[in-house]
């Protein structure tokens, strides 16, 4: 097969501001590998992010990107996908952005099923604001805003995504960029919304959930005899696992579910962005004139 892109196509010379050892480097690397593997060129993809360390990722890639505001990239991405479904639309944001301030959009995107892949850089802490507990911090986690230990139970993105109707729920780990690239590629190939939660150590502010901490606990679902990601009940059990053992891989995938945009009747004859190019040349004034009759 003749390919047009390799991973280096996505490189830029922009200075990366992440801390040495940050789990985000692996995500950047894995994303480039996945896109190259799928032969998607930089102009064919749109990477939307929010605000936070990990949301700077689009700045470090040669691709269409939009670094938006805190918590809102899924909504911006949904608008972009509906305006031009030909773009491969991805969302990259952190656990605070995706599950905290953006929690409402997360839940509704799961049930909406647009063909968007979301990668959540989940380090269980707020990094850019220098170390406050996040929605995914385990109960008891001590930070500057939880000096006596976090009181709330941790947000379980896998279970919530499943419950909300997500058609692809996966998890990977920054210590395994190749595995992550595979899961991301599967997410992009999936027709519908795909959540990929990436366990991503914050080497500066999270001294609990380190590379070693995750490595001791993770195991691969693809190595589990007989695990079938299309089995919703089995997936629900795996989605609860956290603590001693943490599953990575594709926890759940429902294939053949129509995407949101496939079901929008107004998009059958073209996309909003595509139609505008035609409208700017000539408007269907006769069709518009007919609309006036409803007011007469």
């Amino acid at each position: 097969m003749v390919t047009k892109v390799d991973a280096r196509t996505y490189d830029t010379t922009v200075e990366i501001t992440w801390c040495a050892g940050c789990g985000d480097f692996a995500i950047l690397r894995a994303l480039k590998l996945a896109l190259a593997d799928l032969d998607i060129a930089p102009h064919e993809v749109l990477i939307v992010s929010g605000i936070g360390c990990g949301s700077k990722l689009p700045d470090y890639m040669n691709a269409n990107g939009y670094m938006t505001i805190h918590g809102r990239p899924l909504a911006v991405a949904t608008g972009a996908k509906l305006a031009n479904p030909d773009l491969h639309v991805l969302v990259v944001n952190g656990d605070g952005d995706g599950y905290g301030i953006g929690g409402n959009h997360f839940v509704h995107t799961c049930r909406r099923n647009p063909n968007i892949t979301q990668i959540v850089e989940n380090n269980q802490i707020y990094g850019l604001t220098k170390g406050q507990y996040s929605p995914t911090s385990d109960a008891g986690f001590i930070t500057t805003t939880s000096p006596d230990g976090a009181i709330e139970a941790a947000f379980n993105p896998m279970a919530i995504a499943l419950a909300a109707g997500a058609t692809f729920v996966g998890r990977s780990f920054s210590g395994e960029p190749k595995h992550m690239a595979e899961i991301i590629a599967r997410g992009i190939t999936h027709q519908g919304y795909a959540l990929i939660d990436v366990l991503q150590p914050c080497v500066t502010f999270n001294r609990v959930n380190t590379y070693a901490w995750y490595r001791e606990r993770i195991y691969h679902l693809e190595e589990e005899q007989g695990y079938d990601p299309s089995d919703r009940t089995a997936a629900w059990i795996k989605a609860q696992e956290w603590g001693e053992r943490i599953p990575v891989g594709v926890i759940y995938q429902a294939e053949g579910v129509p995407t949101y945009e496939e079901q929008v009747r107004a998009m059958e004859g073209g996309s909003p962005a595509g139609r505008l190019l035609e409208l700017a040349k000539a408007s269907p004034t006769e069709e518009y004139d007919r609309l006036k009759e409803q007011f007469v």
Binding site: L46, Y66, A75, T78, G79, N104, A266, L277
Partner: protein, 580 residues
């Protein structure tokens, strides 16, 4: 009986929510409009589905009208409560039609010269159809006392009930006829206000929200995301009901933040996209407004104001968000604010907003309110002129232009105008990343001093160019007058009718109306105000926000302010009374 007054009256239908006040009112409007009369109709309703007094007020004339008018001449009271609520607003010689058996304070009515026309509406309905046709009987009775030909009502009955089958149509026709005959026979001689059909070309009956929707559609808008909020909801509803072949994607989002962000995403990806909301929803959209400003993404937001603060008066009108929308969001970035005053201006503002948003790559806010958004007016079909609509996408790079780029695409290039040629994602040479952080010409995040200064200059410079497209306020009435009313947005209608009332009564007044408010047309305003003898700002708010904006931008003060903040729109008579 005094001389007949022909084709110059107002009718009010009052009753409980859930009694079909709105559909009865709309039916009457259509019947009169199809008979060649001009109609202006205002709705007054509460934020509840059932119960509570609602009313629908129609004004009828042979000339175009821009406002409702008080007092009214005929009240159709479907509940006893409707009479005391409106008795002070019925002209002497006017009348109340009410269901026989309803206990009415006939003494008070007599004192005020208001006639009481009892009608066995329910028994007519029962005899010729069923009890639920009581409203049909009331409408028939109204036509009877005004001696308006029933045939126009019959057309509307056919239209509204044909889906329910010929039996329902026939019964309603019989009910209307019986009520018409009885009302005419009993009361027509005593009632001096008469309505007569005119030969006129068919006119539209249209409100501000519908005119905005038509304008947006014609302006190439093919994406609207919104969250339901009175009084803006009917915009997305109207768009959602369009034939799918027109290709308008409508997205009812999970909240207003998602709604505005979806519109921004769609616009970034190359569509003309909008959202529509009221003040509360706009409050939620404020942060994203800054995103569009910073990343130079065109965005159109319709803000149909209602009574605030907070939930306020959800179904009522106010003009108290002007300074808010001009200043909303942290930091400084260019935006435009249009405040149409009439349905014609709503149509034009909508398509114009998309051109301005793409030319200046920034948010454009179309500011209306409940009064303008929901009041119906007859309008010549030609007034909505689709052939006048221009789609100008501003500095947008074509595929050919992108192809010839040599040193990479600088999305935020420094230019003389401050406007950087825009590429829609999807072309190999037009790849860039936009950031809500401060960024360089390529879009990369930077906090570098010189770049920050130049980027701020670049963005804000667009406002100077945009100011040249802003329309100065319009004068209505004589060039010179003793008194000049100053208003904006929907107050235009009542104010121009107030000017007419003052001048026809031997006074001397004119009007300055603002429809484009930001960037503020300071120079023209200053010279117009300097030529005035005495100025009064008439605003539907507490703090005279336009007057403050004028003072801030021009150093000129108006001589007096008239304010109304009870959620009910100004009538021309309210304004005249205040000025006495």
């Amino acid at each position: 009986m005094a001389d007949a007054v022909i084709n110059d009256m107002s009718i009010l239908i009052g009753g409980d929510a859930g009694q079909g006040i709105e559909s009865s009112g709309a039916g009457l409007c259509q019947a009169f409009a199809r008979g060649g009369l001009q109609v202006f109709a205002m709705q007054d309703y509460r934020s509840r589905i059932r119960g509570g007094h609602n009313f629908y007020q129609l004004r009828l004339s042979e000339r175009p009208m821009y406002s409702h008018s008080n007092p009214v001449h005929l009240v159709l009271a479907l509940t006893a409560e409707a009479v005391p609520l409106h008795i002070d607003n019925i002209a002497p010689g006017g009348a109340v039609i009410f269901p026989e058996g309803l206990e009415l304070d006939e003494e008070t009515c007599k004192e005020r010269g208001v006639q009481c026309f009892a009608m066995p509406l329910a028994s007519i309905a029962e005899e010729h159809g069923s009890r639920i046709m009581t409203n049909t009987a009331a409408l028939g009775a109204a036509a009877g006392v005004c001696e308006w030909p029933l045939s126009y009502m019959e057309d509307i009955i056919h239209q509204n009930f044909q889906a329910k089958g010929p039996g329902v149509v026939e019964s309603n026709l019989a009910v209307a006829q019986a009520a018409y005959d009885l009302a005419r026979q009993r009361y027509a001689t005593a009632f001096r206000y008469k309505l007569q059909p005119l030969d006129a070309p068919p006119r539209m009956l249209i409100n501000g929200n519908e005119a905005i929707s038509l304008g947006a559609l014609a302006g190439g808008c093919r994406f609207i995301s919104a969250y339901p909020m009175t009084p803006a909801t009917s915009i997305i509803e109207w768009m959602a009901a369009l034939p799918p072949e027109l290709g308008v994607v409508t997205k009812h989002a999970e909240d207003e933040i998602a709604a505005v962000c979806m519109a921004i995403g769609a616009s970034y990806a190359g569509a003309r996209a909008m959202t529509a909301t009221s003040g509360g929803g706009f409050s939620l959209m404020v942060e994203a407004l800054g995103l569009a400003g910073m990343t130079e993404v065109p965005l159109v937001v319709v803000e149909a104001q209602r009574g605030g603060p907070s939930t306020g008066l959800p179904t009522r009108t106010e003009q108290a968000d002007l300074l808010f929308v001009i200043n909303a969001s942290q930091g400084e970035f260019p935006r435009l604010v249009l405040a149409p005053g009439t349905v014609e201006e709503c149509f034009e503002a909508a398509w114009r907003a998309f051109n301005l948003a793409e030319r200046y790559q920034c948010p454009v806010i179309v500011l209306t309110d409940q009064f303008l958004a929901t009041s119906l007016r007859t309008l010549e079909k030609e007034a909505i002129d689709f052939s006048s609509v221009i789609i100008d996408r501003g500095e947008l790079l074509s595929a050919e232009q992108l192809e010839s780029l040599e040193d990479g695409y600088r999305r935020f290039a420094f230019t003389d105008s401050g406007i950087s040629p825009r590429a829609i994602p999807g072309h190999p040479k037009g790849v860039y990343a936009a950031a809500s952080d401060e960024h360089d010409e390529y879009g990369h995040i930077t906090e570098e001093i010189e770049n920050r200064r130049r980027m701020m200059d670049k963005r804000m410079q667009k406002l100077g160019a945009a100011a040249r497209e802003i329309r100065p306020p319009k004068r209505y009435g004589p060039d010179q007058a003793d008194l000049t009313l100053v208003c904006w947005g929907s107050a235009c209608g009542p104010c121009r009718e107030a000017v007419d009332l003052i001048n026809s009564d031997g006074g001397s007044a004119n009007l300055i109306h603002f429809s484009d408010l930001w960037p503020f047309p300071a120079e023209e305003t200053a010279s117009m105000l300097d030529a005035c003898r005495r100025t009064v700002a008439v605003e539907q708010n507490y703090t005279s926000q336009l007057a403050r904006l004028i003072r801030m931008s021009t150093g000129r003060s108006v001589d007096r302010t008239v304010n109304k903040y009870d959620g009910r729109p100004f009538s021309p008579e309210d304004i005249v009374d205040e000025l006495r």
